[in-house]
Every structure is written in structure tokens, then in C-alpha cells.
């Protein structure tokens, strides 16, 4: 009797493809967070236009640094995982 289709599917499923799928999920998660970080930039801009104070510039800087770090992690995950 020939092997079941499921047997051939399981045997063709290597460890590398499992971690490949895991990498995909990681990149998806980081990508979603990247969008959130970009929205946060817009949020800080909107808030700063509404209330202009002495901390506005440092807060904008923190938001941009945060975005930069997320981009960095995304690239790290893309290259290293």
C-alpha cells in the first residue's frame, strides 16, 4: 500500500521550515509593533501641537529613538533569525 498523504507531509516538514515559520511570526509581530511606533510619533506630534511645553522636544526625541530601535530590531530579526 502507498504511504498516506499525511506521512509524506510530516516527513517533508523539516526543523528548518519550523523555525522559518517561527521567524515569519516574529517578523509579523515586530511589523505590527513598528506600525504602533509610527502612530506614536504622530500622537506625540499631535499632543505637542495641542500643548506646547518644555518637555515636547525630549518627548519627540524619545519617540523617534523608540521608532529607530524597533526598525533596528526588525532588521536584526530579518537578518539573524
Amino acid at each position: 500500500m502507498d504511504g498516506m498523504p499525511l506521512d509524506s507531509l510530516i516527513s517533508g516538514f523539516s526543523i528548518s521550515s519550523v523555525w522559518g515559520i517561527a521567524k515569519g511570526f516574529y517578523l509579523l509581530g515586530i511589523g505590527i509593533y513598528l506600525i504602533f511606533a509610527m502612530v506614536m510619533i504622530r500622537q506625540v506630534q499631535l499632543m505637542s501641537n495641542t500643548l506646547n511645553g518644555t518637555l515636547n522636544l525630549p518627548l519627540k526625541l524619545v519617540a523617534w529613538v523608540h521608532l529607530g530601535l524597533v526598525v533596528g530590531v526588525f532588521l536584526l530579526a530579518l537578518a539573524a533569525l
Binding site: 523555525w19 509593533y33 500622537q43 506625540v44 518627548l59 530590531v73 533569525l81
Partner: protein, 231 residues
């Protein structure tokens, strides 16, 4: 059995203020043009940008501010209201150190573990930043002409409500519970005759002082009306 929270309400209806105004003798500094509010303008400014109760804050402007309008008081929720998210933030910061004792990520290759930990810290920064922004930019402002409530409800949804001081009908300060009494913060409810009937300055420091200050502002506005000095 927990004690009933003590609620202290200070209520000053406008009609009573009007009667008081007609009957009182104005102090000499008011009669000679230098009102108490004008004297407040000469007081020292609160320099701390993170203060929850700022008198004459320096270098602060808001979107709908008139060029001649001056911010006399800027209030935020008391710092104690931030305790919860700050504690959560600290726990999130130290959580990765517990991986040494509870290696829940041990099944992952080391590169996945590294990215996971880095992402966790970024999430922590995002969480802390989001909560700080929510506290810092949700403010209650009293100028020499208006009261303003600036609210940011979500990531990019804002609401600015304003009412003229002379439209204020009622001012009530509510302080309830052990923490609020201990650290002197509470809610100031302001009834107005405008489109927005009620303003609430939630969990602000020194609510009784704010009520007294608004009382002073209302009297000042009434005096200006009587003298015809309306802007």
C-alpha cells in the same frame, strides 16, 4: 471591615457669591487696580515641567490660546494616580532577569531568545511612554478668562473643552478615600452655563485650593463686569 471613604465637598453657588460681592468692602489692593489675580501674576512661576499643580507655568502654550490670554494654573492628575503603571513598568523591566531561574524560553534557539528579550524591552518602553504621554498631556488649565479641559482619549483622538469664567455656576471639590485624603488630591466639578454643562478636573492636587482660586476668579470677573472692563 473597610471604613466608608470620607467625602469632603466644598460647594460655592454663584448666587451666594454675587450677594457676597455686593456686600463686601474691596481690599485696597483691589480698589487700587492691583487685584488678587493680578498679584498672582506677579507670583513666582512653577518651574518643574513635571509638576501636577503648576502656578503660572513657564513656556507653556495651548492650541486655542488667545495671544493676550495668560495661563494662571495648569493641573494634571496627581502623581499617585500613576503608581499602578509605574509598578507594572518596573516589573516588566526586571522580568527578563527571572529567565535565569525560570527558563521558559529555553526551547528556542539563542538568536530567537535574544530577539524576544529585546522586543520585550521595547514593549516595556512603549508601555511606559504611552502612559506617560497620557498623564502629561491630559491637563486642566485655568487662564485669566477661561477654564480649559484637554483630553486625549486614545492614540489620536483629542477633545478640548473650554468655558468662560463668568459662565461658571457651581464649583465643587470632592475628596474621598484614604489615599486622596493623605496626599490631598480629588476631583473638582464645575457646572457651567455653556454648551458643556459640567467640567471635571479629575484627581487633581489641592482641590480645595483650586476651588478657592476659581472663586476668586469668578469674583474678579464680576468686578470687571461691574466696572465695564470686559475683554
Amino acid at each position: 471591615m473597610a471604613e466608608e471613604p470620607k467625602e469632603e465637598k466644598i460647594k460655592i453657588p454663584k448666587q451666594e457669591l454675587k450677594k457676597e460681592l455686593e456686600q463686601m468692602e474691596w481690599p485696597s489692593d483691589v480698589l487700587h487696580g492691583k487685584s488678587k489675580v493680578a498679584k498672582i501674576r506677579d507670583e513666582h512661576h512653577t518651574r518643574n515641567p513635571l509638576a501636577a499643580f503648576s502656578v503660572l507655568p513657564e513656556e507653556v502654550e495651548f492650541e486655542t490660546q488667545d495671544p493676550e490670554e495668560k495661563i494662571l494654573l495648569l493641573a494634571r492628575r496627581h502623581l499617585m494616580t500613576n503608581l499602578k503603571w509605574m509598578l507594572v513598568g518596573v516589573l516588566m523591566l526586571v522580568a527578563p532577569f527571572w529567565l535565569n531561574y525560570f527558563p521558559i524560553l529555553a526551547f528556542l534557539p539563542s538568536r530567537f531568545q535574544l530577539v524576544s528579550v529585546v522586543m520585550w524591552y521595547l514593549l516595556t518602553i512603549g508601555f511606559l511612554l504611552e502612559n506617560f504621554l497620557s498623564w502629561y498631556f491630559n491637563v486642566y488649565i485655568v487662564t485669566d478668562e477661561r477654564i480649559i479641559d484637554v483630553d486625549f482619549y486614545s492614540l489620536i483622538y483629542k477633545r478640548i473643552s473650554a468655558a468662560k469664567i463668568d459662565h461658571i455656576e457651581d464649583v465643587t471639590a470632592t475628596t474621598g478615600g484614604a489615599a486622596r485624603n493623605l496626599f490631598d488630591f480629588g476631583t473638582v466639578s464645575i457646572q457651567t452655563a455653556g454648551e458643556k454643562r459640567e467640567f471635571e478636573f479629575e484627581d487633581v492636587p489641592h482641590p480645595a485650593r483650586i476651588v478657592k482660586f476659581l472663586n476668586l476668579m469668578i469674583m474678579e470677573e464680576e468686578k470687571e463686569k461691574m466696572e465695564g472692563r470686559i475683554r
